[in-house]
């Protein structure tokens, strides 16, 4: 055999070392998000919408509550009211911008609350198993006997309309699906070997949940919750459309749609306009949620 020269092991350079540093999951998700043009565009649009909604005075001229008998149902392009006026003469554009505040709050806040409540209950049920799991999941099953809209109508129809009851109703409507998905992913994670290994280290339930369950489970739950936002916006506007949500004279997209229904015969374009806002907002959140899901689907 010929002499094989001894291998020299050289110290890797600083750059190589940094390159070999582990990239965490969330870091990679963030990087993928940054490269996704569509999602970035959606985020930009929604950011703009947020600014418009928080500082409506910067974007509008008229008072959204200012009615004018003379200027009822003016069409799009009317001087001074670029999107026309509604059935009592209020500027449509102002009402749409100011209305965004209520529509967004009524759509997004319930999802956020349901995420907290449902996520907590679901993770608890998924990890604890046994009686706790049975009790929680059976209660959720009772709520699941109603289609979401029916549940929301039951609560607001019987208890009364208004923003608070809308948020309550939609939160209750969204808790069951979030509990289900949280329970499912947690129950799955619980049986993984590394969780068993964590238990074999003697860790208590809270440490295991914090270090091992949570960061593996929050991803799918978050993606699902964001996909519910668009549904929330549509449902919230739908409730107002039925007269069960935000009350007049407050501007809100669904309520405006309802009020303008009679105006359909006079000016169909103006009557349909508030729906456009619902559609655009819902679409942006949907695409954002899809982008998030794709970014999180990192094959490890």
């Amino acid at each position: 055999m010929t002499e094989v020269p001894a291998l020299t092991i050289t110290e890797p350079s600083q750059a190589t070392r940094r390159a070999q540093q582990g990239k965490g999951y969330w870091q990679r998700v963030w990087e993928r998000l940054q490269r996704d043009k569509v999602t970035l565009a959606m985020a930009a649009i929604l950011a703009l919408l947020l600014v418009m909604v928080v500082f409506p005075a910067w974007f509008t001229v008229h008072d959204p509550y200012q009615a004018s008998v003379l200027h009822r149902l003016k069409p799009v392009g009317y001087p001074g009211h670029w999107l026309g006026t509604d059935e009592v003469g209020r500027d449509l554009w102002s009402r749409m911008v100011y209305g965004g505040r209520l529509s967004l709050v009524a759509g997004v806040l319930p999802v956020f609350l349901a995420f907290l409540i449902g996520g907590f209950l679901g993770i608890l049920a998924g990890y604890a198993g046994g009686l706790i799991n049975t009790v929680i999941m059976r209660l959720v099953d009772v709520l699941y006997a109603f289609p979401s809209i029916l549940l929301a109508i039951a609560i607001t129809g019987i208890l009364g309309s208004g923003l608070k009851n809308t948020i309550l109703a939609l939160t209750i409507a969204f808790v069951p699906p979030l509990v289900r998905i949280s329970e499912a992913v947690t129950a799955q994670a619980r049986h993984l070997d590394f969780v068993e290994a964590a238990r074999a280290s003697g860790a208590g339930i809270f440490r295991i949940l914090y270090y091992h369950i949570l960061n593996n489970v929050l991803g799918p739950i978050l993606v699902y919750a964001t996909s519910l936002i668009s549904v929330g916006i549509i449902l919230a506007a739908g409730l107002s459309f039925l007269g069960l949500g935000v009350t007049p004279p407050n501007p809100e997209w669904g309520l405006m749609l309802n009020n303008l229904r009679q105006a359909l015969w006079v000016d169909p374009v103006v009557a349909a306009l508030p729906g456009v806002m619902i559609f655009i907002t819902s679409m942006c959140f949907n695409l954002l949620s899809d982008g998030l899901r794709q970014a999180m689907d990192v094959r490890l």
């Binding site: 890797p12 070392r17 070999q20 540093q21 582990g22 990239k23 965490g24 999951y25 969330w26 993984l192 070997d193 590394f194 068993e196 290994a197 964590a198 238990r199 074999a200 280290s201 003697g202 860790a203 208590g204 440490r207 270090y211 091992h212 960061n215 593996n216 490890l300």
Partner: protein, 326 residues
Amino acid sequence: MTPLLVVDGLTKHFPLRSGLFKRSSAVVQAVDNVSFEVNAGETLGIVGESGCGKSTTARLLMHLVPADHGTIVFGGTPVGASSRRVLYRQMQMVFQDSYASLNPRLPVAMSIAFGPLVHGIAGPAARARAMDLLQAVGLDPALFASRYPHELSGGQRQRVNVARALALEPRLLILDEAVSALDKSIEAQVLNLLIDLKARFDLTYIFISHDLNVVRFISDRVMVMYLGKIVELGPVDRIYRHPKHPYTTALLSAVPSMDPRRRTVKAPLSGDPPNPINPPSGCRFRTRCPFAEPICQEVSPVLNMVEDGGAVACHMLMPGSGHTRA
């Protein structure tokens, strides 16, 4: 000298539920009345085919699964459900699936440091120990500490698992098919690492595997299991050279050999492995045993000491059992 670990009468049955009210219709007798000892400093190998109860035994020892009956005594102290936390500083386990055993969202140093953190060791000290252990298992901490499991190869991950098990400074390490999923060359490296670590840290091993060659290489004593029971127990050389139980003999002759003289034409075992749900009455091996007789169906054989070391559970080796060959 008292043994480090004494297991007596360990039993675990899993009920199967079906029917209208999910009544328990059948029972899987996974581990049935298993008793053995492990001495400090030795490596006890546990072999058997799939479904024989090796892994369940490991989980029972680690209290990851509650036992139906039986006692476990470690270092002279009986272990109960309440003293699990204390037990975990004495006894640890390395699992088979190197990838599933590590949290994909944690850097490996964190996975290793988790155990010490749980037991009250401060963050920086736990991390320092993790670094030392990475070094001990042959992984350069500067390169590997912040890596994630998916950035490591199978062998490297298994080294991390060993480091993680050693983080709590146990005296006994259970290795449940720890090298089975690795390529042969890597397997050899990890086995050698285990032998080094054993000497270095004064450890005791329970090595579970279905690979007879590996078990022979690393064990001092070997325990053979079949359908939830121990059939034979003894020093590794005695078992491999003079197996006494028909199952052990069949198992050993099933190992492919490079030596043409030792190759067999006929399959050593006949019949299908029986269902652990309805194990045969009496001796569980009788349905595949060439020497089975009526006594084997009626009476379950118990472990009996043999002259050249160890014990066997077979009527043929128990004088007065009623078997014609006894």
